[in-house]
Symmetry: C2
Subunit: 127 residues, 2 copies
DNA sequence: CTAGACCTTCACGCCGACGGCAGAGTCAAG
DNA sequence: CTTGACTCTGCCGTCGGCGTGAAGGTCTAG
């Protein structure tokens, strides 16, 4: 499929898809005309990219871990590189911290919304 | 206290504290010399600001909800304005969505790390 | 009185994930 | 063969939360 259809099927703009390619996240074929030609699995890949981006991973990190992306119905070996494992673990920890932050923030909002009893200021280990 | 001490006590740079004032999040007194003079409660306020910033709220929104910030040992009435409640609810929903995103992303990372069984690509309702 | 730590106000720089536009080529239908 | 939808490659713009000087006042210990 061409870039427009992939855009429709993923809800991602063509501009963003070209950007992902520029960052090495997608490597579509090229027609003689220069048009990009995507495969069906790219739909899943794009969804994976978006999920990871939404979690605050930058494109460089995503590019590293994308080869290990579990695509449906595909058996894969464990993670290849040990330093990749380090990156993965670090990002995982970051995500967990971020979730704690979010929970603290939500509690704070709840306290502002239903302010009846005086509550302690939520103090997160800021970094 | 002056800006340096507040910076030390909060772990936030003076530059950031001035920025918060510029955004209307802090309104310290001024000495005749022009030096900013902060109160003890500003320490808690700054922690609140950081918690909310870390959750993705922008300074404009924080400025709106800061007056309702529950400071320790202070009894407060319910939320003042109905449109403020709308903002709060929207941000709260955003945070919850974000937490779901993070969980999905973490699962994806786990799948990449311990890739033994073929797993479905996590598909989050991207927006 | 002086040094050095601290403070002030500009004002430009940065980063990352795109948006938007220009100018030109491509493709399929009628 | 034309038309209109689609695509290409540049390249500059944006936004938010600061970082980083620069050029100059202030404060306090010795």
């Amino acid at each position: 499929m061409r870039i427009g259809e992939l855009a429709r099927r993923t809800g991602v703009t063509p501009r963003a898809l070209r950007y992902y390619e520029e960052q090495g996240l997608l490597t579509p074929e090229r027609r003689p005309s220069g048009y990009r030609e995507y495969g069906d699995r790219d739909v899943d890949t794009v969804h994976g990219i978006r999920t990871l981006l939404a979690a605050g991973l930058n494109s460089a990190v995503i590019a590293e871990i994308l080869p290990g992306l579990p695509l449906p119905g595909q058996r894969r070996p464990g993670p290849t590189c040990p330093e990749l494992l380090t990156v993965l673990a670090r990002e995982r920890a970051r995500i967990t911290r971020q979730m704690d932050q979010l929970e603290a923030s939500r509690k704070l909002l709840d306290a502002v919304m239903g302010a009846d009893a005086p509550s302690e200021v939520i103090r997160t280990p800021q970094r």
